[in-house]
């Protein structure tokens, strides 16, 4: 249901639908601005208005009760859109101060209809024709990982204008606007406004019932603050997330390598070894995997929760299942550990490690070579410790076989 307005068009009384009126008056205002720089602008406008009034008169005579948006569109098409009239028309002495309302230029705005803080990212997204979420992620990552400080965001916030009018909005997205775009825009905004006014009215009524003025304004301050805190929490969460992922991946590689037979890390001059020393390869695998789960399950759930939080989704987890899975890994891990503690091989490896330590290998330059293999039930290990002297000759310090 819309309102009908009575207007005076060139001395004629015309009944016109409210939305149609909006597009008509926008059109006339545009023309007004365009012609206001010319001498005869007033007269030209009057002629145009009179002609439009005549067209409308015809419509009403045909039996319509009022002028609607279609009639207005038709009239505008007939009279000529501002684009048809153009700025560089008739070689006239138009001053180029009159703004080009329907230009094809894109302009960078802030989109305050779609915003977390200030609508900077969605404005950027509209200008570059990308998805808003992608821009937001990129901005957050940029801030966290490069030196571009958060202050840059606030600079953008301050400098960029809000996209308020329908023209602004269409310039934000770029491209030629037609009256239909404007009419649709106006329609959409009208219903948005109607809806939010209704909500506002409801909430005002409710708050009047309950609280005093002071409390509700305090509440809105708190809400605003909450928004800011949430935003920073999200940035922090993103950073933590990345850290957790890195840790998780590193650990996984480490433990999987362990499961498959060990690898050497070169730490300075000392090679660190991770032999798989448990009784059977299968046991090794299970052990490693349980250890992996033990660490990854908590990390994984934290990552999951952070992701949900960042994307404003409901943070819901099946805590029970996750916890049970974790307990299971813990049980397996402890079980295998206890079992292996009594494993002969493990004890020997322990001695092996103590040997190395006691030799003071870590104090000086030693080259440590070892290899081991499982033969039947036994773990055989060969250890060579060579002292590396300044002139690069090596003296063998000791050789151990176990």
């Amino acid at each position: 249901m819309n309102k009908i307005i009575q207007i005076n068009l060139a001395g004629q009384a015309v009944s016109i639908d409210e939305l149609a009126y909006k597009s008509l008056s926008e059109y006339l205002h545009t023309l007004e601005n365009h012609f206001s720089n010319t001498e005869d602008g007033g007269e030209i406008l009057a002629d145009i208005e009179a002609r439009i009034a005549e067209l409308f008169f015809g419509k009403i005579k045909k039996g319509n009760a009022f002028i609607n948006a279609t009639d207005v569109s038709e009239a505008i098409q007939l009279m000529g859109t501002p684009a048809d009239m153009g700025i560089h028309d008739l070689g006239s002495e138009q001053s180029h101060n009159s703004s080009t309302f329907y230009s094809t230029d894109k302009k960078l705005f802030r989109d305050t209809d779609d915003r977390v803080l200030g609508g900077v990212c969605s404005g950027l997204a509209a200008y570059f024709n990308t998805d808003t979420s992608i821009v937001r992620i990129a901005v957050i990552l940029l801030i966290v990982f490069t030196g571009i400080p958060l202050i840059a965001y606030f600079v953008f916030w301050i400098v960029l204008p809000e996209a308020n009018t329908p023209e602004d909005r269409s310039r934000m997205y770029g491209g030629n606007t037609t009256v239909n775009d404007i009419v649709n825009n106006v329609r959409r905004e009208a219903s948005d406004v109607a809806r939010s006014v209704k909500n506002e009215a409801n909430s005002v009524a409710e708050s009047l019932k309950k609280n005093s003025n002071l409390r509700s304004s305090g509440r809105s301050v708190v809400n605003g603050l909450e928004q800011v805190i949430r935003f920073f929490a999200k940035i922090f969460g993103a950073g933590t997330l990345i850290l957790l992922v890195i840790i998780g991946v590193a650990l996984s590689i480490f433990l999987l390598a362990n499961a498959t037979g060990g690898f050497t890390l070169n730490a300075g001059d000392v090679d660190v070894l991770t032999p798989s020393i448990l009784k059977t390869p299968t046991l090794n695998w299970i052990f490693s995997i349980s250890l992996l789960s033990l660490i990854l399950i908590p990390i994984g759930t934290m990552c999951y929760a952070i992701i949900l939080f960042i994307f404003n989704m409901d943070v819901r987890l099946n805590i029970k299942a996750v916890f049970l899975a974790w307990l299971l890994s813990l049980a397996i891990f402890i079980g295998i550990s206890i079992y292996s503690a009594s494993d002969v091989n493990v004890q020997r490896f322990k001695e092996f490690g103590e040997t190395i330590r006691d030799k003071g290998v870590f104090d000086e330059d030693y080259e440590l070579n070892y290899n081991y293999k499982h033969s039947e039930d036994k773990l055989e290990m060969d250890l060579d410790i060579d002292k590396v002297s300044p002139d690069n000759e090596s003296d063998s310090v000791s050789t151990h076989s176990l």
Partner: protein, 109 residues
């Protein structure tokens, strides 16, 4: 450079001449002028016409009279002045020369 802009410039260039010629055949209302132009396949929107008519009137080449109308507000009916007639004659010879030259240039390469 958009072709529509160039094309529109070309049309606008000859529009004054056409309007004056039409007006010399009697009283004309803006809408009538548009119709005549359309019949001759020269498409112009009223928004372009009014500024032009007003300018011609201010230059003394056209004059108008208000006539009541039963189809809405009063209308301006334009007719050509003596000055306008002379102007039109000159434009006519200019036009002929122009078409001649252009044809010659575009036909012989």
């Amino acid at each position: 450079m958009k072709i529509e802009n160039t094309q529109s410039q070309m049309r606008k260039g000859v529009l004054e001449y056409c309007i004056l010629t039409l007006a010399s055949s009697g009283e004309m209302y803006a809408s009538d002028i548009i119709t005549h132009l359309k019949d001759a396949k020269l498409i112009v929107v009223e928004g372009t016409l009014y500024p032009l008519l007003t300018r011609l009137k201010n230059a003394g080449l056209l004059s108008y009279a208000w006539k009541e109308s039963d189809q809405g507000p009063p209308r301006k009916y334009y007719s050509i002045t003596q000055e306008g007639q002379d102007f039109c004659k000159e434009l006519s010879s200019t036009w002929n020369e122009l078409t001649h030259s252009v044809n010659q240039i575009t036909e012989t390469k």
